[in-house]
Structures are given as structure tokens and as C-alpha cells.
Symmetry: D2
Subunit: 135 residues, 4 copies
């Protein structure tokens, strides 16, 4: 995958009431769902293969590790942006992501996240490569 040509992804999310906790702020487990949506959007923006893979149901995306720092809280109805970058080229079908959440109103960074994903073939559960990996 030619990292220099990759487009980063930005998605908008509005915090739901069900995502907030007794302290009136978004529960941290939801951040991981938002970050994941950002990663899928990144795949969609950069490789035509992604939606086909979904349709063919032959690939399983697997999280190997996630590290997240929580910097600011966000509450019900707050609007955030999840920004997703790939921190280095995919090697051996390992995808290293750098992500951050920005509070749209204040511009403050809410959280930052580093994660590693792998793609597995659903047929034989072996690691797959995307066409771009060949280049």
C-alpha cells in the first residue's frame, strides 16, 4: 500500500444519550466503537476492495492491539470528529493506525489512539494481503 498516496479519513459523530454514563460524559468503551468506524471509513476511502470484501464475506478484520489516551470528556449531543491516519505502510497485512478525536466546538483533542489490525481470510483463517500490498 503506497502510504504517501493514502487519503486520511474524517467522520462526524454526535454523542448519544445511551453512550453517556452517570457522570454525564461519554463512557470510554464507546470511543473504541467510534475509532473502529473511523478505520472502516479509512479502508473505504482508500481501497475499492473493502466493500467487495464485505459483500463476499471472505475477510475478517481483527484487532491485535489498541492503546488509547483519554484527554478530555465529551457529553450528550457534543459533536466530535474522528480522524484516522495510517502510521506506516501495511506490511504482512498489519495495518497500523493513528487516530484522534476532536471536539468540533472547542477544537480540543479529546482522545488519541494507536491500534494494529490484521485482515484474515474467512475461508482458511490465514492472513490476507490487499492488492496494494503487492506494489
Amino acid at each position: 500500500m503506497k502510504i504517501q498516496k493514502m487519503k486520511h479519513s474524517t467522520i462526524d459523530i454526535r454523542i448519544r444519550l445511551a453512550e453517556t454514563d452517570p457522570y454525564g460524559i461519554a463512557h470510554h468503551s464507546n470511543y473504541f466503537t467510534w475509532f473502529e468506524e473511523g478505520r472502516f471509513d479509512y479502508f473505504e476511502k482508500n481501497t475499492y476492495e473493502v466493500s467487495d470484501m464485505k459483500n463476499n464475506s471472505d475477510v475478517v478484520y481483527c484487532n491485535l492491539s489498541i492503546k488509547c489516551k483519554f484527554l478530555k470528556s465529551v457529553g450528550f449531543k457534543d459533536e466530535i470528529q474522528v480522524k484516522t491516519y495510517m502510521s506506516q505502510p501495511s506490511i504482512y497485512a498489519r495495518y497500523l493506525f493513528q487516530q484522534e478525536i476532536i471536539n468540533k466546538k472547542t477544537g480540543e483533542k479529546v482522545a488519541e489512539c494507536n491500534s494494529t489490525m490484521a485482515g484474515l481470510s474467512r475461508k482458511n483463517w490465514e492472513i490476507i494481503t490487499l492488492p496494494e500490498d503487492e506494489n
Copy 2:
């Protein structure tokens, strides 16, 4: 299914912090997850077929409708019981459930729920019957 012989199900659940909302009480969307666990426990307690079905991956349980009344709130660490009954024999693979949630400490009824499920074959997406339906 011979309704008179069916055993009802009772499962215990302890409210998690992530399930509570800014008012300090469990968000209502979680009740539907707890009720579902109660229904699966009911299937397990009453038909040996259930776990096999799961392993063979050839059945899809499908909710057709749910009606729930919310009577009392429950908070973090509260312990509840989900009680599940089948309100009438399965006919045409429709399972009519009556359920309630009890606060274990106070004995008060927290919620009551009526729901209808159907079982579909994953192979042809047609409605299936359990062995007991034949009787």
C-alpha cells in the same frame, strides 16, 4: 411444545457502570439485552436442541415484536433477576414470552415484557419447528 412441562428460567444480572446513564440509572436499551439472555436461557433449559443448533449454525432467532413497561429504575451494582415464561405453546414456530425483571434486594418488579420470536433456518430462511412442536 408441551407448555405445561416447560421449566421457566431465572437468570441473575448485576448492573454494570457502562449500562447506566447520566441519571445514574440503567439505560432502557440494556433491558432488551437482559431479556434476550433470559429467552436464550429458557431455550437452553427446555430443549437440548438449542446448543446443537448454535453449533451447527443453522438457526437464526428473530424477534418479531417486543413490548416493555418500565416500572422502577435500577442503578450501578444493583442485582436483578430476569424471569422468563412462555405464555402459550409454540405454534408455527412462534414463541410468545412473558418476562419480568425483579430487583433482588427490594423484591420490586422493575419491568415487564411481552415478546414474540420466530426461528428461521439459516439455510433457506424458512421458519423451522422444534421437535416438541410435533407433539
Copy 3:
């Protein structure tokens, strides 16, 4: 509340991976979170009081009952619309909602929901009225 003048609400939602289950479709517990967001949007669209109430933290919205029919399934990345209407004027601070979920691509109705909410004052936990209730 002058029901004839009320504007209905429509919000757009895109199904997240974390909202889908082993059958590849959105788990039904999420529908209740989406319907709730629709009801809050309805409040926002129709009464200036709502955001103030939130800021002052002096009102608690409480679900009394919910009834939902599940008509079609939706999957990851599907785009839906949640449409919210008030089925009759607010009386004694009971809000009766009629809602439906539409699959934006197919136009099919995915689910329909009837629910009753009440507004409670956080200060004395008594039922409150909105300004429009006076008319």
C-alpha cells in the same frame, strides 16, 4: 402542546459494525437507542426549552413503555432514517410517540415503535410540564 403545529423529526443513522450481531444484522437492542435519539431530536426541533433544560440539568426524561415491531433487518453500513411523530397532545406531561425506521436505499419500513415518555423535575422528582402544555 399544540400538536397540529408540531414538526416531525427525521434523523439519519448509519449502522455501525459494533451494532451488528452474529447473523450480520443490527441487534434489536440498538433500535431503542436510535428511537431515543429520534425523540430527543423531536424535542429539540419543537421546543426551545429542551437545550436549556439540559444545561440546567433540571429535567429527567423517563420512558414509561415501549412497543416495537421488527419488520426488516438492516446490516453494517446500511443507512436508515428514524422518523418521529407525536401521536397526541401532551397531557399531564405524558408524551406519546409514534416512530418508524426506514431503510434509505430500499424505502422499506424496518421497524415501527410506539412509546410513552414522561418528564420529571430533577429537583423534586415530580412530573413537569412544558410551556406549550399551558395553551
Copy 4:
């Protein structure tokens, strides 16, 4: 806090259907909810103050950072144990946790997690200390 005297915590969890995803395995966002329950159980097992704090509503537990490695998948009805240790004494009200999830049937380690929490006073939003911190 005298780390050498602290009791570690073990809690049991059974995977719910709503926690699994289209690949038939638990979605990773749920791991963070389970780990959190483990940390709260740890607090409860080791300091009488915890439940009082909750009742008085004067403390807010705040996650500063979380790092998690996902080693094995778990599916619907699988039973797991969340084991929680404190990796070093609390200093300046920073609680450093080491946690792991074990599949009860296979004994395999499913995930491991390092996290840092802080306790804030709800009254003045300043960092608090537990009585044991004085020793």
C-alpha cells in the same frame, strides 16, 4: 496503599449475544466494559471506602489511558474470568492496573490490559486520595 496486602480480583462473565459481532465473536469494545467491572470489583474488595464514595456520590473515577492486546476470540455463551491486579502502589491517586481475561474452558489468555485511572472529587473536580495513600 500497601500494594503487598492488596487482594487481586477475579470476576466471572458469560458472553451475551448482543456482545458478539458478525464474525460470531465478542466485539472488542465490550472488553473495556468487562475490564472496568474488574477494576471496580478490585476497589470494592480492597477498600471499604468505595461503596461509601458511591453512595455519597462525591468521587468520579476517570480513565487516563488504556492499552489492550487481543490474543484469542471468545463467542456467545463462552465463560471468561477477568483478573485484576494493581501493578504498583497508588501515587498521587493514580491507579495502575494490570488485567487479563481467561477463557474458563480452555484456560487460554484471551486479552491483557494495562490501564491508569485517577479519582476526582465531584465537588471540586480535584484529584482525591484514598485513606491508604496516607500510609
